[in-house]
């Protein structure tokens, strides 16, 4: 590290560098297109066209070509390539790669600065949420009345698969992506992430995966749901190959990001930043990252096996050739349940942070907060088969899995203890982040209680596979995680832009989304209780009223999210200026200028106490 600090805006653009310095998103797209075409050409002409798996082999080749070409085109492989041939990046190269002196154009490049990556993650989250949201509206429009009027069953089935996966991707990155990158290294007192180039790689790999996932809709014939159910996924058309490859590419992204997060927290903390002085959000980010490192290999494994069944005629999941669908279910849910907490923990940890700052009190019972998150992560790897209670697989394991599942309510309960304990007798500053936090508390209780029903096997034998389950996990994802994510956005928005997220618009959005969530998903609970299965493209007349209400509620959520989008767009450049520390918080990200300079600190700070000393300053001074 140099001792002099080169500021992003003042430093001049380093000269030279040739072609590699002109690479950006556009050249990435061009590279991806060229390689996709090249791989298509080779596969199309040289693979055996009479094979029954030919079209899948061609499709898989195209996806592989796309991601390789995209990496090459955007310059993701430049530095490792140079290292390989002995021409290491110079300091000037690294600073250029970090976006020095490149203004707004650095947001469209393979830029290593963690703050640029953070902003890129904000945009990616919005793109993913937006596309998934559009599909949600399409699904609800189809279900507004019985019968297939809006789109046919085949198109509808594609919608539910892609909506599910887009939203899972969006929520995995919704908090950990933007804030795990933008503020987390500063919170630790680091100049950047431990591996800045890997950081950029994780972001652009996510972009590559998202592009593949969106393409699946055009390629079509996705009759397998977002969980890629087997053996039915083996029946689906070539869109399925795109879908599987999108997930495999996505897991590369999360693995790289997870390793980076863990290494950053473990090795890059500044002097005095002991583990017990870490801001609580950093704990949430690292626990989620560690859990993701455990979970996501199953994800790429199960999709790779699906893809091999389809392209190489293996039979991992083909029942009449020695495989079985239960294997897919096991592998998928070994990933699938931990993944829920990979999504939830960063949001909850961000809310702990927000609760402390906004109620001007220390995080209540910091240790149970950490223990609760760790306990949840640990338990979550032991509960996967509760998704399989009704499959007929291993009925004797029903009791044990019910036990582990219900134990989860203890660490989950600790989240309420910490949140309510922190708010209790505080001076709760009712700003936008606080408002969304209260929304989270209200919704997360409903999510938790309905989860208890589903963990109980006799009840699950009635409710499994119905809209009740759909409503339950939407209370988790929309009602809880999304509210946490918006709270985090409102909280750290001033650090990114130097401006507040518009308070008034934010509150309109809050009320629309909050009311919309209750209308949509309470009615959906009713549909489920009445006996409507999930993933129905049409339904019997008895489900007419509850579905109509759900669709109206979904439109209200959409209106709320559009207002939020309007608020983000108008506040980004024109919002009310906030100064570097609008919430008068004590953690390091608020003590650096806004926007934080490249490499964050002139001199690395030395930490003597945790950032939650509200009410304690007076005693000591």
């Amino acid at each position: 590290m140099t001792t002099t600090l080169e500021h992003t805006k003042t430093a001049s653009i380093p000269q030279g560098g040739g072609l590699a310095r002109r690479q950006n998103f556009l050249t990435g797209l061009i590279g991806g297109a060229i390689f996709a075409w090249l791989f298509w050409f080779l596969a199309h002409h040289f693979l055996d066209a009479t094979s029954r798996t030919w079209s899948d082999e061609v499709a898989a080749s195209v996806t592989l070509g796309w991601i390789i070409g995209f990496w090459l085109g955007i310059g993701a492989l430049n530095a490792p390539g140079r290292w390989l041939i002995g021409k290491n990046n110079t300091r000037a190269d690294d600073l250029y790669l970090a976006g020095q002196g490149q203004g707004k154009s650095r947001y469209w490049k393979f830029t290593t600065d963690h703050k640029v990556v953070g902003v890129q993650y904000i945009i990616m989250t919005m793109v993913l949420l937006g596309s998934g949201g559009i599909l949600a509206m399409a699904i609800r429009t189809e279900l507004i009345v019985p019968g297939n009027h809006f789109v046919n069953q085949q198109v509808y089935n594609g919608f539910i698969a892609v909506h599910g996966m887009l939203m899972i991707l969006a929520l995995i990155v919704a908090v950990a992506g933007p804030w795990g990158n933008f503020v987390m290294p500063i919170m630790c007192g680091a100049r950047d992430m431990a591996f800045p180039r890997l950081n950029a790689l994780s972001l652009w790999t996510l972009v590559g995966a998202a592009a593949l996932l969106l393409t699946t809709l055009a390629v079509g014939s996705l009759t397998m749901g977002w969980v890629v159910l087997e053996p039915i996924a083996n029946q689906a058309g070539v869109g399925m190959d795109f879908f599987a490859m999108a997930i495999i590419v996505f897991t590369v992204s999360t693995t790289v990001a997870g390793v980076n997060t863990i290494c950053t927290v473990l090795t890059m903390r500044t002097k005095g930043m002991t583990l017990s002085r870490l801001p609580i959000f950093v704990w949430g980010a690292i626990i989620a990252a560690a859990l993701g490192l455990y979970a996501f290999p199953y994800f790429s494994l199960v999709e790779a096996m699906t893809l091999m069944d389809r392209t190489f005629s293996t039979s991992f999941f083909v029942a009449n050739a020695g495989g079985e669908g239960w294997l897919q279910a096991n592998l998928f849910w070994l990933m699938g349940h931990p993944e829920v907490y990979v999504i939830l923990l960063p949001a909850v940890a961000a809310l702990f942070e927000i609760a402390a700052v906004m109620s001007r009190k220390p995080v209540f019972s910091y240790r149970t907060a950490v223990a609760g998150m760790t306990g949840l992560a640990g338990l979550s790897i032991l509960v996967w088969a509760h998704h399989m209670f009704t499959t007929g697989w291993a009925p004797t394991l029903g009791g044990p899995f019910m036990l582990t599942t219900e134990l989860i309510s203890i660490p989950t309960g600790l989240f309420f203890l910490v949140l309510i304990g922190t708010l209790w007798r505080g001076n709760i500053w009712m700003k936008l982040p606080t408002v969304w936090m209260f929304g989270f508390i209200a919704n997360f209780i409903i999510a938790g209680v309905t989860g208890i029903y589903l963990s109980d096997i006799p009840l699950d034998d009635q409710l499994h596979g119905t809209m009740f389950v759909t409503a339950h996990f939407h209370y988790v994802f929309v009602g809880s995680v999304l509210f946490g994510a918006v709270a985090a956005l409102a909280f750290w928005f001033p650090k990114v832009t130097g401006r507040y997220l518009n308070e008034f618009l934010g509150r309109i959005s809050f009320w629309l989304v909050f009311i919309g969530v209750q209308v949509t998903f309470l009615a959906m609970f009713a549909s489920g209780l009445k006996g409507m299965p999930r993933r129905y493209s049409s339904y019997a007349l008895i489900f007419e009223h509850t579905n109509f209400i759900t669709t109206i509620g979904a439109y209200i959520i959409m209106a709320g999210m559009l207002v939020l989008l309007g608020a983000v767009i108008t506040s980004w450049n024109k919002g009310e200026p906030s100064g570097p520390n609008p919430w008068h918080a004590n953690s390091l990200e608020w003590l650096v200028p806004t926007p934080p300079p490249l490499e964050n600190f002139d001199v690395l700070p030395v930490i003597t106490e945790d950032p939650y000393n509200y009410g304690e300053e007076l005693v000591r001074s």
Partner: protein, 244 residues
């Protein structure tokens, strides 16, 4: 904005909690059972009872969180653009945390005991001369056959008050066999026979739906069944064409 944490103000908290608890319990007792389909078997009675018990048990907990959050909003919310003064520097409260842990553990233990007990009852078979029905799922039709009789039917016919053992399998992909009014579900898997028991105890019509996504026309993989008196069932069975 300043707090007065005297006993009088906590009365409001308690009152809110009590009202919300009662409301939650009432919803639990009257809500689900009104929405859920007509109960026609022992399993379904247990399902609805469990739903009620869990809701009533969860009501005070949920009400506690709601009441505390509302109480905090009412008494300690600080509006305006100026930063409020620091609150009390309370980091720990051993008594509160311990109580919380004990209460939540006890509640979980209660759920577990109830759940494991219900599971044992739910899965138990009387073993007394059950009627065996073979259930076959195929995209997107259910068919039922009665072993030993050469009778098969697209609709399910069951006698009243006799245990039925369903042996479920699939011809193509995984389907989910669900008798909506009897609270039983099991997947129909290719190459595997899964079994499930129930004892119908009400006469009449019931619904069967596929609850595992099975492709293009999943939504249409539905049929109906009928619970008949034993004599009606016997005459239905003998009136059916025999299939080789």
């Amino acid at each position: 904005m300043t707090t007065s944490n005297n006993k009088k103000s906590y009365r409001g908290l308690f009152l809110t909690w009590a009202i919300l608890t009662i409301a939650g319990a009432l919803v639990g007792i009257f809500g689900p059972s009104r929405l859920m389909p007509r109960s026609m078997s022992d399993n379904m009675h247990l399902t609805i009872l469990t739903m009620v018990v869990f809701t009533v048990a969860a009501a005070p907990v949920a009400a506690g969180v709601y009441a505390s959050a509302l109480y905090a909003l009412r008494h300690w919310a600080h509006k305006g653009s100026e930063v409020p003064p620091s609150g009390p520097a309370v980091r720990e409260n051993a008594m509160f945390v311990t109580t919380w842990l004990i209460v939540s553990t006890l509640l979980t233990v209660f759920l577990l005991i109830w759940g494991l007990g219900a599971l044992a009852v739910d899965n138990s078979s009387t073993g007394k001369n059950p009627l065996v029905v073979d259930v076959t799922g195929q995209q997107w039709v259910w068919s039922f056959s009665y072993p030993g009789t050469h009778v098969s039917s697209p609709q399910l016919y069951l006698p009243d008050n006799r245990e039925v053992e369903f042996r479920v399998t699939s011809k193509d992909v995984t389907h989910g066999f669900w008798i909506v009014n009897m609270g039983i579900q099991v997947d129909a898997n290719v190459g595997v026979i899964t079994t499930i028991h129930t004892t119908p105890d009400k006469l009449g019509l019931f619904n069967i739906r596929c609850e595992q996504f099975c492709g293009l026309n999943h939504a249409f993989m539905v049929t109906v069944g009928h619970v008949l008196t034993p004599s009606q069932f016997a005459s239905w069975l003998s009136s059916q064409p025999q299939q080789a």
